[in-house]
């Protein structure tokens, strides 16, 4: 799955999302549930805001010294006998991984969940050379079995499917004959996967955090699948986004704790798997051959820009779970494997404005995302920055809007023009007004009045009332409790 999903226009995707009532129910339920659990989990810490500042500090420090820590990490991985490859592009990463896999004559690869391998479209590239790739995270497995349905959430990729839909997929594709009970479904997947773990030649993982000081990698899962992916196959390849680093285990501990609390409201996940290089003499398991692929794919271009803070992200999806827009349109509407607020900020940076120019506008700038982000990324401000870039540098805003805003600039800045405009408004709006409200507006008001009434402009503006009153001629007004509605 490349980063971009589907070729439909933004409006069409949104329409589909809005009409998918099951998905919306599932998303709203998940948001409410996880949201409440997250609140409990962070309250336990007592001083969440301090934790957030600390988390932000750690991530900012790493970004400021990224060269240093990447080098330290590479050295330490090499010291332990691992191979390090730095891929500037998705193609370079895929080529390298393909070479490793082919050099082992590998027929079967098992994978644990990884967004960066989705981003570079690794599975397709391995399948091209005749390799069977099997996702072992349950959510990813379901999507893969369902003809590569794209993920709709960065932590819970199959959030848009219910258990009945999963049962149907399993029945059709895997000859499953049991009920839609989640335990039975999970058991079935487990049985299928067990064989794959045992027969796979290569295990591929993502990376939640790499620890520079020791050359270790931490994988955070609730299913334990990463343990099997990393202990059974003879060869292991870990793919990481170039920014996913911490200096030492001390920072790892802080960030893992924040990650799980923010992502699912858990104190600790079921498994934190930490690996350091290939198997050593006294180890009982682990790969014989270890490869680390560090992926840039557009990230270094973000460094040093006004968007740098987006690289602080630890992919917890708290922003996704808090987003009122995501709530109603779902993940596929974003047209990117990265959805929700983080997706709306990151996708245009990694994939360009052409494909993602609507995303920065798919927000009310309500700030719910920035409020929950454990590493204090000012997401709504970054969305606003994108809008500014689209208008000023990319020239991608509609002409009609540009004219309107020019006129706004003139009108709003000039008291005379403003006063004149607001004074003639009631007359100008007269043809559209009935009973003090506008039910079918012209121009930009049309979209508003398709679903809502718009108030008719006051006959006497507030400023005129005030002026009259100052002169001693002020009107009195009815008691508010008896006032008719003005909204």
């Amino acid at each position: 799955m490349p980063m971009k999903i589907g070729n439909e226009r933004f409006g069409e995707r949104v329409e589909k999302g809005i009409n998918n009532s099951f998905m919306r129910g599932a998303v709203a339920g998940a948001q409410d549930n996880i949201g409440a659990r997250r609140l409990n989990a962070i309250e336990e810490l007592g001083n969440w805001e301090e934790w957030r500042s600390h988390g932000e500090e750690i991530r900012q420090h790493v970004l400021e010294h990224l060269d240093y820590y990447l080098e330290q990490l590479s050295d330490n991985v090499a010291k332990r006998g691992g191979n390090v490859f730095f891929a500037e592009t998705a193609e370079e990463a895929n080529e390298y991984i393909k070479e490793v896999v082919q050099s082992k004559n590998a027929q079967k690869v098992v994978k644990s969940k990884s967004m960066v391998t989705e981003e570079i479209n690794l599975n397709a590239s391995l399948e091209e050379v005749g390799c069977q790739v099997i996702e072992t995270d349950l959510g990813e497995y379901i999507l893969q079995v369902d003809d590569h349905d794209p993920p709709s959430h960065i932590v819970a990729p199959a959030l848009h499917k219910n258990k009945e839909q999963v049962r149907d997929v399993f029945t059709k594709k895997l000859g499953y004959k049991k009920s839609a009970d989640p335990t039975e479904l999970a058991w079935h997947a487990r049985e299928m996967l067990r064989q794959d773990y045992l027969t796979a030649d290569v295990g591929i993982t993502g990376c939640n955090f790499a620890v520079a000081e020791t050359g270790s990698f931490a994988l955070v899962t609730n299913e334990g699948n990463a343990d099997l992916v990393t202990s059974l196959p003879k060869t292991q390849i870990t793919v990481m986004g170039m920014e996913r680093l911490v200096p030492t285990f001390e920072e790892l501990e802080v960030l893992v704790s924040m990650l799980t609390r923010s992502a699912v409201g858990q104190k600790l996940p079921s498994y934190v798997t930490v690996l350091t290089g290939p198997r050593e003499e006294l180890d009982v398991d682990g790969p014989e051959d270890f490869h680390l692929v560090i992926v840039d794919n557009g990230r270094s271009k973000i460094l040093g820009t006004e968007f740098q803070s987006v690289l602080q992200c630890i992919r917890c999806a708290a922003c996704v779970n808090a987003c009122p827009v995501y709530r109603h349109v779902g993940g596929h509407s974003y047209g990117s494997i990265y959805s929700g607020p983080i997706g709306a900020v990151l996708s245009p940076l990694l994939g360009g404005y052409e494909d993602y120019k609507e995303l920065p506008y798919a927000s009310t700038l309500c700030g719910a995302c920035s409020e929950v982000c454990p590493v204090k990324i000012p997401l709504h401000e970054l969305l606003h920055k994108h809008r500014q870039v689209i208008v000023e540098k990319e020239g991608k805003a509609p002409v009609s809007e540009k004219l309107l805003m020019k006129a706004f600039g003139l009108g709003a800045a000039s008291p005379t023009l403003y006063k004149w405009g607001s004074k003639i408004a009631p007359t100008a709006m007269n043809p559209f007004t009935s009973e003090d409200k506008i039910t079918k507006g012209p121009g930009p008001l049309k979209a508003w009045t398709e679903v809502r009434d718009f108030p008719a402009p006051n006959k006497e503006r507030f400023r005129d009332w005030f002026k009259n009153r100052e002169k001693g001629g002020g009107t009195s007004w009815p008691e508010p409790s008896k006032t008719e509605k003005h909204f």
Partner: protein, 238 residues
């Protein structure tokens, strides 16, 4: 105490009753109100849409207009926040940044002003009925005013208060978002109205004209018997 009113364009043009209630309420609390006629729009619609350059002239005009004020009070959390945002817009500008900082330091949202500056909790209002309150996003999250409206409402005689389910969720206004992303905005405001209905309240109260126009517009369109009121009107009921 001398208060300079920043009424906002929505109140000026569409909701003059809110402006009137604000004036009367503040006068009753002992303030002397001044309304500079040169005030225009704060620039938020253009600014939020990414037209930063286009909005700067309006911002400068507003800074000039309110330069003499001792306290600036605004009956809208979002617009009051915009005054606080100016300092970031003019960051690094040797003339306008200091001016914008001064402006921010003396700008208050109405309920914030009553609690923090006037130090009044009971304004002597009285209104019979069941009410719920919509916490608008900019006021709560960006301006950081959370408790003031609740404290003031809790002292209104006769008012029975019910908390709004999903109160932290945006109502879907978002300025130009409401027309640019109308499909999504509709779903958001619909859920908000459903939540209001669940409370069985007669009044839905807010402190932000934009949100109220959005929620009220949808309630009116659906013909629901719920009154949408600005908190200034509630606090001014006697």
């Amino acid at each position: 105490m001398k208060v300079t009113l920043f009424a906002t364009c929505l109140v000026d043009m569409f909701q003059s009753d809110v402006g009137k209630a604000t004036v009367e309420l503040l006068e009753r609390l002992g303030c002397e109100i001044d309304f500079p006629q040169t005030q225009v729009c704060c620039g938020q619609p253009a600014y939020n849409s990414g037209y930063v350059k286009e909005s700067k002239d309006a911002m400068k005009k507003m800074i000039g207009t309110f330069e003499h004020a001792e306290y600036i009070v605004c009956p809208s959390g979002s617009c009051a926040y915009m005054f606080h945002e100016y300092q970031h817009v003019f960051k690094g500008d040797p003339i306008w940044e200091p001016k914008a900082k001064k402006l921010a330091a003396k700008t208050y949202e109405l309920t914030q002003f009553i609690i923090e500056v006037l130090k009044v909790e009971n304004v002597g209002a009285c209104l019979e009925g069941k009410a719920t309150y919509h916490t608008s996003c900019h006021m709560t999250r960006l301006l950081g005013v959370q408790k003031a409206p609740m404290t003031l409402l809790s002292k209104v005689k006769g008012l029975e208060f019910v908390e709004l389910p999903g109160k932290e969720q945006c109502c879907g206004f978002g300025g130009t978002f409401s027309v640019k992303m109308a499909q999504i905005s509709e779903q958001m405001v619909d859920e908000k109205v459903r939540h209001v209905e669940e409370t069985d309240a007669e009044y839905v109260i807010g402190a932000d004209a934009g949100c109220l126009m959005n929620i009220g517009g949808r309630i009116n369109r659906q013909g629901k018997p719920i009154k949408v009121m600005h908190i200034a009107e509630i606090l001014n009921s006697r």
